[in-house]
């Protein structure tokens, strides 16, 4: 049962990232300096957090296209809150961000659960609505660095044990999701609902409710990232993270999370996000024109999905005894 001990897909993706790093190092050795790798990780942290939320949603056979809009709306809301009440402590800001994000996720979830509207339609709609609301509440205006309090912008970049808080948040999220997916009833139900929804009903799992919870989780993480994003780049406006939802889905796909549901892992999602993060950070450094970036990440997605499909193709059951023996 070697295949059980070594998760093949994750290993290969990890190897691909290593190969990529070596390739970059051959042109620019500074890139693989530990300090820079930490930078790359820090820069990829938002993508990692969002990819984990998206992973949960995709595992239940849904998709959440509204994450980036949710992020932007939460980011704007907390930025405006900070401007209005500069004294508000950061834990409160974070709680508000997570709560607001979760509420938006819950709206998606309820529409999927109670009205049984296909997730792609729901989140396509709420994506537009959330973005529009940002414009309405902000009147289209930016919230700039000097308007935000130092505590607000300082939190994600504060360094603890050599790592910025942003990175720590990503690590913590990975740890929590790692435990949740493997060690809690909810985590296992998420796999069950995506793997075989009919059977899930037989085992007493409320499929709609699990999907709802998946959207709430994804929304909460989007909200959290909204605060981190706005604080880190010290600016909030309507279009922040525009189109980021597709990058998040791409990270999941590259990480081997099956769009058909039920198959995937926390490690995969993280590696998928890191893969994109490394490419994104490396291009400017190794002097490849940034105009190449889009085409390169597009090709990476295609190669990854083709590869995952090949390796994931379940060997059909084998009837012939002789064939089984030679397997």
């Amino acid at each position: 049962m070697l295949s059980r001990l070594i998760p093949v897909r994750e290993t290969i993706l990890g190897a691909a990232i290593l190969a990529l790093l070596l390739l970059i190092a051959s042109r620019f050795s500074g890139f693989v300096a530990p300090a820079n790798l930490l930078n790359v990780f820090n820069d990829t942290a938002p993508l990692i957090i969002l990819a984990l939320g998206q992973m949960v949603v995709i595992l239940t056979r849904c998709i959440d296209l509204s994450v980036a809009a949710n992020l932007a709306l939460t980011g704007m809301a907390v930025a405006m809150l900070n401007v209005a009440m500069p004294g508000l402590p950061i834990p409160v800001i974070i709680a508000v961000a997570i709560g607001l994000g979760a509420v938006m996720g819950a709206i998606n979830g309820l529409l999927v659960w109670k009205l049984m509207i296909p997730p792609i339609v729901v989140t396509l709609g709420t994506m537009a609505v959330f973005r529009g609301i940002i414009f309405l509440i902000s009147d289209g205006k930016w919230v700039n660095a000097h308007e935000m309090s130092d505590a607000f912008t300082g939190f994600p970049r504060a360094v603890i044990l050599g790592l910025p808080v942003l990175s720590w948040v990503a690590l913590l999220t990975v740890a929590i999701f790692g435990i949740m997916m493997s060690r809690t009833a909810l985590g296992r139900s998420i796999f069950a609902v995506g793997g075989n929804p009919d059977a899930a009903v037989y085992t007493g799992i409320d499929v709609g409710r699990v999907k709802f919870l998946a959207f709430v989780l994804s929304g909460a993480l989007a909200g959290l990232t909204g605060y981190l994003w706005v604080a880190r780049y010290a600016v909030a406006y309507v279009d922040i993270a525009g189109g980021f939802e597709l990058e998040v889905v791409a990270a999941c796909v590259i990480g081997g999370i099956s769009i058909a549901g039920g198959i995937g892992s926390v490690g995969g999602a993280v590696l998928g996000a890191l893969f994109l993060g490394v490419i994104k950070n490396a291009l400017p450094v190794i002097n490849i024109s940034p105009f190449w970036q889009l085409a390169i990440s597009g090709s990476a997605i295609l190669i990854a999905v083709a590869f995952n499909a090949r390796s994931g193709k379940t060997k059909g059951r084998i009837i012939l005894k002789s064939a089984e023996a030679s397997e």
Binding site: I63, L111, L115, M116, I117, P118, I120, V121, V122, L124, G125, T126, M127, A128, V129, R131, G132, I133, I134, F135, L136, G140, V238, G243, L246, V249, A250, V253, I259, A260, S289, F291, W292, Q293, L294, A295, I296, S297, G298, S299, I301, L302, V305, A306, A309
Partner: protein, 335 residues
């Protein structure tokens, strides 16, 4: 099993007449919405009821709708293509490139169509031959196609299209009727006939409802899907010609984000995103609804982002309201 002694049981062809079927259809609901928006618009703005303005308003949807017709067929068959806007970018870039070398209008049109077609084939190969999920493949090709445009163009732009090329996006056939509107109408009819009146259209519905059973019924499922991706690419090529002609220039960011508007239009037109049902008249009306909403709000100088709230709510609302209605009715019936 008929033993001859008893005559066979009679089964009527249809239970409901054509009229009742049409009256209960999604298209009628949507048409009512369209008329309501039209009335609201003419009340809200004094500039709305003007032939030239209405003619200009059609540009808000004609190019998107051309793609939406092909996309409708694709979605009914259970697939999706998110790379259409990127195909526009690539096709437009190719046309611009050719124009630099003095290609004339016929050549440019041919290039636009061929590049669209090739992109469609590229998607089709991944989906039908390698058997990968189309949503993922086209998210990938969406980056790839537009990425190639960026590689070719960088921060440059192609301009200097021949004067006669402007006919597609800026020309008028007679009075206020634009070339694009005419193209839209012709394409709508072609796709309407293809979907509703041919064996091919029937196959699309069968595949969308149950691809396995369709395969077991002798339908060449992969071939049909291949053709549908190809058609969607082709229509993106047509839209690229119109848009490029209308803008008179090409930049890699052309048509950014249009794929989601196209999908929105298709879904608003009553096509099930899960495949298997939908109609071309529905998409036509949805195109007008979206065009009217954006134009009407534009006349009131409402920013585009706020318009998208309306579109988003419309999208969820038109699906949610009938369901809420039946749920409420069921509840009332039970108690």
């Amino acid at each position: 099993m008929t033993d001859g002694s008893t005559p066979p049981r009679f089964i009527p062809d249809r239970l409901r007449t054509r009229k009742t079927r049409i009256l209960h259809s999604w298209e009628i609901l949507l048409l009512a919405v369209a008329i309501a928006i039209f009335v609201i618009n003419s009340l809200a703005s004094p500039y709305f009821l003007n032939a030239w303005n209405l003619s200009d308003a059609t540009f808000n949807f004609t190019e998107k709708a051309m793609i939406a017709f092909a996309m409708a067929l694709l979605i009914i068959s259970g697939e999706i293509d998110l790379s259409v806007a990127a195909i526009i970018a690539l096709a437009s870039t190719a046309m611009g490139f050719a124009a630099q070398y003095g290609a004339g209008t016929p050549e440019l049109v041919a290039i636009g169509l061929v590049v669209g077609l090739l992109c469609g084939v590229f998607n089709a190969i991944f989906v039908t031959i390698l058997g990968l999920p189309s949503i993922v493949v086209t998210i990938g090709t969406m980056s790839l196609f537009r990425g190639i445009s960026y590689i070719v163009l960088g921060d440059e732009a192609f301009r200097g299209y021949p004067a006669s090329f402007a006919w597609f996006g800026q020309g008028y056939l007679f009075w206020v009727f634009t070339v694009e509107l005419a193209l839209f109408a012709v394409i709508a009819v072609i796709y309407g006939v293809l979907l509703h009146k041919t064996n091919f259209g029937r196959a699309i519905y069968a595949i969308g409802n149950n691809p396995t059973a369709a395969l077991f019924s002798g339908i060449r499922v992969q071939r049909v899907k291949f053709i549908l991706f190809l058609l969607t690419g082709l229509m993106s090529g047509v839209a690229a010609i119109c848009l490029t002609s209308r803008l008179g220039s090409t930049r890699p960011s052309i048509a950014q984000g249009m794929e989601l508007e196209v999908v929105t239009m298709v879904v608003l037109g009553g096509v099930s995103i899960l495949g298997g049902s939908g109609s071309i008249p529905g998409v036509v009306i949805a195109a007008f609804v979206m065009g009217l909403v954006t134009f009407g709000l534009g006349l009131l100088n409402v920013p585009g982002i706020v318009m998208s709230i309306f579109i988003g709510l419309l999208l969820i609302g038109v699906i949610a309201l009938p369901r809420l209605w039946t749920m409420a009715a069921a509840k009332r019936g039970r108690t």
